[in-house]
């Protein structure tokens, strides 16, 4: 019985010792998982289907920059000087995929690009040269989803010359897709 008493007492004291050290929660984030994107199909509201063909694919280095502001203080704590400095730095590898040009039909339409992804992705409005005929509707998404854009009617008989290069990239720039969109003319 005496041994049992010592056992219980020892067990309690040990538990007290362990429990006194509170468990600290961790960040469960997995830094090794990088963003990925896949384009599984390009369709339109009018029922057109467009082929997805990879034209070029390679890995590249991401380079970023920020502007560093430094404040120098005098001995009494007041501000002596504030300076700006631009810093460039490399930030990982990006997988770049360029598709073959997708020639959209001449009619006004809404384009739907089906995306599979495990990341947040963005699709900024391409810089317009000439009259804008292509407008992004969905400029951001998360995970699997659809990117959408609208195109106005090409009333000309010929295909448009100002191709809109749409980039869709993951938030960490791990993958960048480039889809050149052209639009056929009425006679095409």
């Amino acid at each position: 019985m005496r041994k049992l008493f010592y056992l219980i007492l020892g067990g309690l004291l040990l538990s007290v010792g362990f429990a006194s050290c509170d468990d600290e929660p961790d960040n469960p984030g997995d830094y090794s998982i990088r963003g990925s994107i896949g384009i599984t199909g390009i369709t339109s509201a009018l029922g057109n289907e467009y082929e997805v063909v990879v034209a070029q694919e390679f890995d590249s280095t991401i380079v970023r920059y920020n502007i560093k502001k430094d404040t120098t203080f005098a001995a009494d704590g007041t501000v002596a000087e504030i300076t700006d400095d631009t810093l460039w730095y490399e930030d990982g590898v990006c997988h770049f995929v360029r598709l073959e040009q997708v020639n959209l039909a001449a009619a006004a339409d809404t384009i739907v690009v089906s995306i599979t992804s495990n990341a947040r992705w963005t699709a900024a409005q391409p810089v317009a040269t000439g009259r804008r005929w292509y407008t992004v509707l969905t400029n951001t998404g998360g995970g699997d989803g659809d990117f959408t854009a609208t195109v106005i009617e090409n009333t000309s008989a010929n295909a448009r010359t100002n191709v809109q290069v749409q980039q869709i990239l993951t938030s960490d720039s791990a993958v960048i897709y480039e889809i050149p969109f052209g639009q056929l003319g009425k006679s095409n």
Binding site: M1, R2, F5, I8, L9, L12, S15, V16, A19, S20, D22, E24, P25, D26, N27, P28, G29, D30, Y31, I33, R34, G35, S36, R64, N66, I67, K68, K69, T71, F73, D76, G77, T78, V79, I82, L87, S117, N118, A119, R120, G141, G142, G143, D144, G145, D146, T170, S171, D172, A174
Partner: protein, 1067 residues
């Protein structure tokens, strides 16, 4: 040679060997009985047949035989060498007495639900007051605390659950200290002899309408024969527990960015600032703050880039307190006395705050027995408490502490404290002190003209003087250009200087303002009891006792408050009579009671018991024609074990005590919040009318009211079983009860609009509580040196509103307040069911196509919560939020603490004793609604409290904080309510098991040399709140705050663990 042989002969005579057998009442050998020589070390234990052999010094030695459950025996050896000792079963159970209203009863004959505990539950524990020590000790006595461990923190007490939901009444039990109403938290725990809890109407009805929800009777220590001087003291070290762990500054910025982007916005922290944050963390930048772009002020708030853990900054690792208690008791045949002095000095857990709580208690009790007929007792008790802290250490501080950004550095470049650190707010922002002086005086005269007939006269008074003050001082900081600017010691609230409806002030100084407030309150309470009882036994079988008495009470209180805004000297503030900014208020009230009571007890042959109580009460709080009420109760009991047919069971399974009892009673509740609840009041306020160029005061007409408003009445019914086995080594009891509170004040059904007003509230609501309690204990000895005991209790209750006119049937009131309806179970939580967290936009869009969530928010996407469309109408909402139309809301939980339990393990071996006391709640659901401390973000982008626990939120791959999309706990971080609706996913399990007290003590052996000078000495190590087992995230289960509190749940003073070392000495 002859001398040597003589010496040998002498020593041979001195050592005597004695043998014998110890048997029980049935002549069976009693193994394990302790056999020792009185005053000597060591001893033996009887063997399996009850036999023993012992060597004693000489014939004058006295052998002491003891065994749990049996009366101890002492036998002088004399010329006996063979002893046969028959042990008698202890009559402790039979003789054990419980304290009941206006008297005592043998426990075996008590028919009400009464539990009496001695002071062992409070002994050697580093507690602040007796209430804290009683938590979990008595089944059905529910003592809860959701507000953490602030100095002077009050705990909530109820007996057998919530008693009333009536507007303007309270259901706290009546606390009587030596027969007079008092405050359990103000009494010195070392002065307590025992505590009785009267749980049902039969037990409490003698106290009438002051005690419909039970009574706690506290009996303090009295003097005994022989002089004793006792000292107990301890030093305590307190350390905070369950302190949230905030994220570092860089993680904080990334989480905020996520939240902003998730809501459809842009990141708040750009790359440049993120870089600065990292550089500061690496030590490359000397300060965490710099001037803003204009240079005219500092870049405070989210523009700074420090890295501060605010809980670490403010909370001490250890706070030290100490307590000392000295008592002197003694007396003889005629006079007994007991005097004590107690000092408790506590410091708080916060740095920079200099919190102090001091309690000084002096008490004296003198008993005089003039002769065999007349005795007189006088006691006085003086308790002085002083609670001081910074004026800024309030609920707002805890709210702001939770949402303090780690980016804010502690220090400015010039070495002063950052104004956003709130350190200056505590150190220099003003102090607040609350002082209370209580003086109790009690005189009791007892006359016994003939044997069995006693007359008692009690005169009791309590005088309280409460004083306090609070000042806020001006605070300023230095800007980059060297100029100073003021800021308020209360961050984030508008400046206010006004009087509330209840006479208190709402003082929130603006920048550059200092304020000073003083209050002085006084309470006079006087009570008298004159009663007589007579008891007699006829023909040995008929026991009869009658009690008849009268009680009067008078209570008066007044409080005067003054405050001024124009303070000339912040360091020595005073009320400036010439100030144009002065607030003055006075409130006072009084009530009186007159009660007549009687009780008759009849017991036949210690087998059948009957008790009838009657109380006739008049209370000043009610209108003249409603003032009086008659409250009867009856209880009965049957000592089955005393029946002749029970003898075989008694012998067979050693069930020596088995009693069935039942009770029924009715009581009125006069404990209204207001002393004048049935009188309408008209309060002046500033109107929207301008007269003579100035805003005019107006006197609004009161709302329509009912003249038939009357008392709440409480019906109690219950049954119970008490049993004792194995010679009182095992005791158990079980109770089942039902309590119905009738005629609670509630809203009436709406009247036609032509009436022009709201229908008056009437006595039209009912609440029913059903519950049960079970307790058991086992004590035993093993050999001479070992003894141990195990005890446990478990109780549960449910309260249901059985009648309520709820015109709208709303499930929730405004601002999350409770709303009632017929059939509601108190504590119900209504909310949504959750299907899961969408892994992608596509999954969310597919879900929204079936269950539109637009009523709950917008901009839904991957990482957000998918709520269930329970009623299949294609959308997720709560309908009209009523009992008849609750949309997709379901009952998802209940916040009432259920299955309260405790168990105690005790053991002692020679001079070492050990005690472990566990306490817990078996079931409790809590939802932290709109809580930034639980979700990370509240409702609003700037209501943020980002802890490491919150990092388990949905994040896509490539996130700066790592991917977390497989099985996250939280949805995407957002500053809106999308992912924070009341739902089953985030309903928290607040049940817990806590090692409430652990003690190891070392008692000076009687054989030690020091024992010549000290009758008793014990050194002990004790600890409170050592271990906590709970599934509750982030919070301590006793520091969850209130969902309807001013700033929401989770923002309270931290709970703490206490280690103490103490000493007890008796001379």
């Amino acid at each position: 040679m002859i001398i040597a042989s003589l010496l040998v002969s002498v020593s041979a005579v001195a050592q005597i060997t004695v043998s014998g057998t110890v048997v029980d009442e049935s002549d069976f050998g009693l193994p394990g009985a302790s056999v020792i020589v009185k005053g000597e070390k060591g001893g033996v234990a009887t063997d399996l047949d009850g036999k023993f052999t012992l060597t004693v010094p000489n014939e004058n030695s006295v052998i002491v035989i003891s065994f749990i459950g049996y009366n101890e025996q002492e036998i002088k050896v004399g010329d006996q060498r063979q002893l046969n000792i028959k042990m008698e079963p202890a009559t402790q159970m039979m003789d054990e007495v419980v304290i009941v209203g206006f008297g005592t009863q043998k426990k075996v004959n008590a028919t009400g639900a009464v539990k009496t505990i001695d002071n062992k539950a409070l002994e050697s524990r580093p507690i602040s007051n007796a209430v804290q020590g009683l938590q979990g000790v008595v089944a059905g006595l529910n003592i809860t605390n959701d507000q953490g461990g602030g100095l002077g923190q009050e705990m909530q007490i109820n007996i057998r659950g919530v008693g009333s939901i009536g507007e303007g009444s309270n259901s706290a039990p009546l606390v009587l200290i030596d027969g007079m109403e008092g405050d359990l938290s103000s009494i010195n725990p070392n002065d307590i002899e025992n505590i009785s809890v009267l749980k049902d109407a039969a037990a409490a009805s003698i106290y009438g309408s002051r005690a419909p929800f039970g009574v706690i009777l506290v009996t303090t220590k009295s003097g005994e024969r022989g002089l004793r001087i006792n000292y107990t003291g301890n030093v305590r070290m307190q350390q905070p527990i369950s302190v949230p762990k905030p994220v570092d500054s860089y993680t904080y910025a990334l989480m905020v960015n996520d939240a902003f982007i998730n809501r459809g916005g842009t990141a708040q922290f750009g790359a440049a600032q993120l870089d600065k944050i990292l550089r500061y963390q690496r030590g490359e930048l000397p300060y965490g703050i710099e001037p803003n772009l204009n240079g005219d002020d500092w870049a405070f708030g989210q523009q700074s880039y420090g890295n501060t853990d605010w809980y670490d900054t403010f909370l001490k690792d250890v706070a030290v307190s100490h307590e000392h208690n000295v008592s002197v008791s003694g007396g003889g045949d005629k006079v007994t006395y007991y005097f004590s002095g107690n000092y408790l000095g506590q410091t708080g857990l916060f740095n920079y705050a200099d919190e102090k709580f001091e309690r000084l208690a002096l008490s004296g009790k003198v008993g005089v027995k003039f002769n065999d007929y007349v005795s007189f007792n006088w006691s006085s008790r003086l308790v002085s408490t002083d609670n001081e802290k910074p004026s800024a250490l309030n609920a707002l501080f805890f709210h702001n502490l939770g949402r303090r950004s780690p980016l804010m550095p502690i220090y400015m470049p010039d070495g002063s404290y950052n104004k956003e650190s709130m350190i200056n707010n505590l150190q220099d922002g003003g102090r607040q002190g609350d002082r209370n002086l209580l003086l109790y005086n009690q005189a009791n005269l007892t006359i016994e003209p003939i044997k069995g007939w006693k007359i008692y006269v009690d005169l009791n008074s309590r005088i309280e003087n409460k004083t306090g003050d609070q000042n806020f001082s001006k605070l300023s900081y230095v800007k980059p250009d060297g100029t100073s600017e003021y800021y308020s010691p209360l961050e984030g609230v508008l400046a206010k200087f006004e009087t509330n409806a209840n006479g208190t002030f709402r003082i929130q100084p603006g920048p550059g303002e200092s304020t000073y407030m003083r209050y002085k309150g006084h309470v006079n309470y006087f009570q008298s009891n004159v009663y007589t009882d007579f008891e007699k036994t006829f023909n040995e079988k008929h026991y009869f006792k009658a009690l008849l008495g009268m009680q009067t009470e008078y209570y008066y209180n007044e409080t005067i408050r003054m405050a001024t805004k124009d303070i000339l000297l912040d360091d020595t503030p005073f009320i400036n009579p010439t100030s144009s900014n002065i607030l003055v208020s006075e409130d006072k009230g009084e009530w009186a009671n007159l009660g007549f009571f009687g009780r008759v007890n009849y017991t036949f042959d210690d087998r059948y018991m009957l008790e009838v109580n009657l109380r006739y009460d008049g209370a000043s709080r009610f209108p003249r024609n409603q003032r009086w009420g008659l409250f009867p109760s009856v209880s009965a009991g049957w000592n089955v074990a005393n029946e002749s047919f029970f003898e075989p069971i008694r012998q067979g399974i050693k069930l020596e005590y088995f009693k069935l009892r039942g009770s029924y009673g009715q009581l009125g509740n006069q404990n209204t919040t207001s002393f004048y609840p049935y009188y309408q009041q008209m309060s002046t306020l500033m109107g929207t009318v301008i007269l003579g160029g100035a805003q005019a005061g107006v006197l609004p007409v009161f709302d329509p009211y009912s003249t038939s408003l009357t008392w709440e009445t409480i019906e109690n019914a219950g049954v119970g079983v008490d049993l004792g086995m194995f010679s009182n080594r095992f005791n158990a009891s079980f109770d089942w009860y039902q309590r119905t509170t009738k005629d609670m004040i509630g809203p009436a059904l709406a009247l036609s609009a032509v009436y022009g007003g709201d229908a008056p509230r009437t006595n039209n609501a009912e609440l029913r509580t059903r519950g049960w309690e079970v307790e058991f204990s086992w004590r035993d000895r093993i050999g001479a040196d070992w003894s141990y005991g195990i005890s446990a209790s478990l109780s549960d209750y449910k309260s249901i509103v059985t009648k309520y006119d709820s015109p709208t049937g709303r499930l929730r009131g405004d601002a999350g307040a409770e709303a009632y309806y017929e059939g509601k179970e108190i504590g119900e939580i209504w909310g949504y069911r959750v299907e899961g967290i969408a892994k992608s936009d596509k999954e969310m869009q597919a879900h929204l196509a079936k269950a539109n969530q637009s009523a709950l928010g917008s901009n839904w996407g991957g990482g957000d919560v998918m709520y269930k469309d329970v009623n299949g109408d294609g959308k997720v909402d709560n309908g009209a939020g009523t009992i008849t139309d609750h949309g997709d809301w379901e009952k998802i939980g209940n916040s009432t603490p259920r299955f309260a339990y405790s168990f105690t393990l005790e053991a002692s071996w020679k001079w070492i004793d050990f005690r472990a006391y566990f306490q817990g709640v078996g079931k409790r659901d809590v939802f932290f609604e709109n809580s930034a401390t639980f979700f990370g973000f509240g409702n609003g982008d700037y209501q943020r409290s980002l802890y490491v626990d919150h990092l388990d939120y949905f994040r896509y791959a490539g996130s700066a904080l790592g991917a977390n999309y497989e099985d996250p706990y939280y949805g995407r971080l957002r500053g809106d309510m999308n992912n924070k609706q009341v739902c089953d996913r985030y309903l928290q399990d607040a049940s817990y098991l806590r090692l409430k007290n652990l003690q190891i003590g070392f008692t000076l052996p009687k054989t030690a040399k020091l024992s010549k000078y000290v009758e008793h000495a014990r050194l002990y190590v004790s600890a409170e709140n050592l271990l906590t087992f709970t599934n509750l995230m982030i919070y301590d289960p006793e520091a969850i705050g209130s969902a309807t509190g001013e700033y929401g749940a989770g923002k309270t003073y931290p709970q703490y663990r206490t280690w103490s070392v103490g000493l007890e000495l008796t001379f």
